[in-house]
Symmetry: C2
Subunit: 218 residues, 2 copies
DNA sequence: CGAGCTTCGTCACTAAATGACACGCTGTCA
DNA sequence: TGACAGCGTGTCATTTAGTGACGAAGCTCG
């Protein structure tokens, strides 16, 4: 999360832009959830966030894409988890550790955003426009994952096996995400997902023929 | 909804509609490939296919979705392959058989459509709008696949394991599709893909932890 | 033939998205 | 301190995507 000492000018600007996009996305997601995508206009989003409509279109190419930053939050823990996976740790151990760390460090805003993200992922069942956003976010996970895997397996990034494993693993992650999200929305007690890290790890192991999961012993 | 009983009226009508959509999609895909999605207007598509613009919007909810039928053709062989997979055959044997059958039975129009489909899948790399169509088509494969797998594994269709396997397998299919498509566009001799059925089968086996692939022995 | 159904074209319209330009804010340099 | 450059925003005009309403042509069944 902490992108500490960045560049002065464009770094500031990029961070500012990112925050604004997230702000807009929160309102858009809230409105999409309340009244559907078709029932929500660009003007409404603009008014809700307190900006002119023109500025919304400056930050998002389309109405639907306003949901992207929040939807992406639904996979951000996966991303950061994979980013920080040290070679000498097994997937299970690392996942458990990351889960604990997130439980400790997440802010209230983070949790609120996660709640919105779950709603969006759920909304993706009914709204094709949101589903495309969700699939595109998962596609992004897949691409990043391919990068990490190629490093971990010491193979070129465009190797077919690497891409196959990345695709299968990120697809498994997506399904589990959808599954847990649906359960949470239906009122399942979050404590029932204490074993989620194990389930995720097992799913990734299965999807990659056990290629991914064990510690790397050089 | 319309059952199989109304094969006369709505059946005819549905088939007609399907053909018209495909016809529109061909022209749209051709234009998208030639001049990009943004560079192509609804009016152009309408003119190319010889219909009024209004009629285009009657058959497609958006410009980008005009690509869907052709894109879907890129996964149609997978669909029909999976649909016709008899329990007593291994995945490899069935795939080889289906490949031969297709080589025998495909019409010139089918092959032309396949060529367009490959172009669209390739275009998906550059055009987000097309990529969403491609991902949605693969998503459809995943859902159908979940149906077949649940039948083959004798598990409920919404079982988590079934969905995980379907997701991983269809993701693998997608990557191989992209890979072969790119190679073909770059001029690789199609005969180099004689082992494609084996590669596909192996990828599906890997992605599903070998759950899918063997003949069912009851 | 003529009533009913469906599909398409035309026209008017709403909503999404872009271009052009002016305003205000911030930081910089002399 | 004041002139200037850069950036993000608002306003307004404009283009393009997409919908609603209605009428005309074709098909089918009696």
């Amino acid at each position: 999360m902490a992108g500490a000492a960045s560049t002065k000018r464009s770094g500031m600007s990029d961070e500012r832009r990112r925050r604004l996009r997230l702000e807009i996305s929160r309102e858009a997601a809230r409105l999409f959830w309340q009244q559907g995508v078709d029932g929500t206009s660009g003007d409404q989003i603009a008014e809700a966030v307190g900006l002119s409509t023109r500025t919304i279109w400056r930050h998002f190419r389309s109405k639907e894409s306003c949901a992207e930053p929040i939807v992406t939050k639904g996979v951000e823990w996966e991303m950061s988890m994979l980013r920080n996976w040290p070679p000498e740790l097994s997937l299970e151990d690392h996942l458990i550790e990351e889960t604990r760390r997130y439980a400790r460090e997440a802010t209230d805003a983070d949790r609120a955003d996660d709640g919105l993200a779950i709603k969006m992922i759920n909304l993706a069942d009914r709204e094709p426009a949101i589903r495309t956003a969700w699939l595109m976010a998962c596609d992004q996970v897949e691409r990043e994952l391919a990068g990490y895997l190629s490093a971990r397996l010491k193979l070129p990034a465009d190797d077919l096996q690497v891409r196959l494993h990345a695709a299968a693993a990120s697809a498994a992650l997506r399904v589990i995400n959808e599954d847990i999200g649906t359960a949470l929305l239906n009122g399942t007690d979050p404590r029932e997902f204490a074993d989620a890290p194990h389930r995720v790890a097992q799913a990734i192991r299965n999807a990659t023929g056990n290629t991914i999961g064990d510690p790397i012993t050089p």
